[in-house]
């Protein structure tokens, strides 16, 4: 039976993990490679890096991080943040990323998704949708949530599935950072409207939130802070989900 995935996400800036970490046994708390290894040894089903490096000069740091991580972690690695072109995707995959997550570029020009999924296969193309509730519906935001687009998130999810996306990483901008749980309605709407797997993101504060995310129809749940600050380990999260009869890999 296919298991629901738990995906810890690390924010990486200029090649370093951004948020502080409470793990005492880390030699270098800011090294994404070491952090990723701890997650994969702890049972993470995949690892996700979100590169939030602002300046173009330092963009190359992520390639080095991906390269070193892929030599140490033997679970799938997804990298997102600032991915604009086929060249960017090609470079990340060559460094050892297994999947690439595309956000702004996919919204601005769906051809990037069409072309990249043809060239590299849908299995490595994740489209990240950042959405904010607006009345009865959800609107897509780009550029790390700064720019509104007027695009309906549910309709966009369908469109981008048809362009060849292999998975959707759906983040609620309303919930992100609040630790009050996923936007369940958004996750339910999108996952019931597409035939590709949905990864729920944004808002996890407790282990029960992870369970709610899976029950909403998502195939995988992504979380940053709860793992990052050591509130819970991946293992604890899995044991909790298993106790709620949610199938996970233990």
């Amino acid at each position: 039976m296919l298991k629901n995935r738990i995906i810890p996400c690390l924010d990486v800036k200029n090649g370093r993990v951004v948020k502080g970490i409470n793990f005492v046994d880390l030699k270098d708390a800011g090294d994404p490679v070491e952090q990723a290894k701890i997650y994969s040894d702890g049972g993470a089903d995949e690892i996700c890096f979100l590169d939030i490096t602002a300046s173009n000069e330092n963009r190359d740091t992520i390639y080095d991080v991906v390269e070193r991580t892929s030599k140490n972690c033997f679970v799938p690695l997804t990298v997102g943040g600032g991915v604009r072109s086929i060249e960017d995707i090609n470079k990340l995959l060559n460094c050892g990323a297994d999947k690439v997550s595309i956000n702004t570029a996919a919204v601005q020009n769906s051809k990037v998704v069409e072309e990249s999924s043809k060239k590299f296969g849908s299995q490595c193309i994740v489209v990240a949708i950042d959405a904010k509730k607006n009345g009865d519906t959800w609107e897509i935001f780009t550029h790390g949530g700064r720019n509104s687009t007027g695009i309906n998130a549910i309709e966009f999810a369908n469109k981008i599935e048809n362009c060849g996306a292999g998975e959707l990483l759906v983040t609620s901008m309303d919930k992100d950072g609040t630790q009050s749980g996923y936007d369940i309605e958004l996750m339910r709407k999108i996952s019931s409207n597409v035939n590709i797997p949905v990864i729920a993101s944004g808002g996890v504060g407790t282990l029960d939130h992870l369970a709610e995310g899976i029950k909403s129809g998502a195939s995988a749940v992504l979380a940053a802070s709860i793992f990052h600050y050591g509130t819970y380990s991946v293992k604890q999260a899995k044991q909790y989900l298993a106790s709620k009869d949610i199938p996970v890999r233990i």
């Binding site: 039976m1 298991k3 030599k71 033997f74 679970v75 799938p76 995959l93 460094c95 292999g166 590709i196």
Partner: protein
């Protein structure tokens, strides 16, 4: 010992390279190439594959003499070969992804889209699923039945002769996820992304 990973522009093979190098250490020399002479002289060959059945077959055919060299290696000389994902699927006679495409014809059968039961099951089949080992295979040495492996695919290999099946996995139907026919091995899952158990399987193949 020389193990060659066939590099034929079949998509992203970094993880395959990294995992084999991690396991091989000083046991084996890992070569990544499409050089026909190097393939011929190697002891074992890995045939990876990502993207569509058609794109992989096209990519194989684009390198002059590669298919003949692989045939000689696996069929005539009967040296061990491991196909991963679409690498396994290409063992079939025919594949139906994009358009009807002829495969290598090493193991009779076809590759068709997984029945998602009218949308009840998501495709691609992505994530960790358990393998049901149905045949005592050397590549599953020290790997327990029902171990988890990492999958990502929308098409499945349906061999004509059930005796070649070494493991299956349960999704919308019972999917063939590992085959073995004499010296030819193939996995639908990705051992290179399946953590310690995947590395164990790679180790088993290198030690064959």
């Amino acid at each position: 010992m020389n193990v060659t990973i066939v590099d034929y522009n079949s998509g992203n093979i970094s993880s395959v390279i990294n995992s084999f190098k991690e396991v091989a250490k000083d046991k084996a020399n890992i070569e990544v190439t499409s050089n026909l002479n190097k393939i011929k002289s190697s002891d074992k060959v890995i045939l990876p594959g990502q993207g569509s059945f058609k794109s992989c077959v096209d990519a194989l055919n684009n390198i002059k003499g590669l298919v003949d060299t692989l045939n000689e290696f696996a069929i005539n000389n009967k040296k061990p070969l491991l196909g991963i994902c679409v690498g396994l699927q290409m063992f079939a006679d025919i594949g139906y992804e994009e358009t009807e495409t002829k495969g290598l014809g090493w193991i009779s059968g076809k590759v068709s889209k997984i029945d998602n039961q009218k949308g009840k099951y998501k495709l691609p089949h992505i994530g960790w699923n358990q393998i049901n080992i149905v045949k005592d295979s050397k590549i599953f040495k020290d790997i327990e039945n029902n171990s988890h492996m990492y999958f990502v695919h929308s098409y499945e290999f349906i061999p004509e002769d059930e005796n070649v099946i070494s493991a299956t996995t349960e999704y919308s139907s019972n999917i063939v996820c590992s085959v073995e026919k004499e010296n030819i091995f193939g996995t639908q899952f990705h051992p290179e992304k399946s953590d310690k158990i995947g590395l164990q399987m790679i180790n088993n193949f290198i030690n064959l």
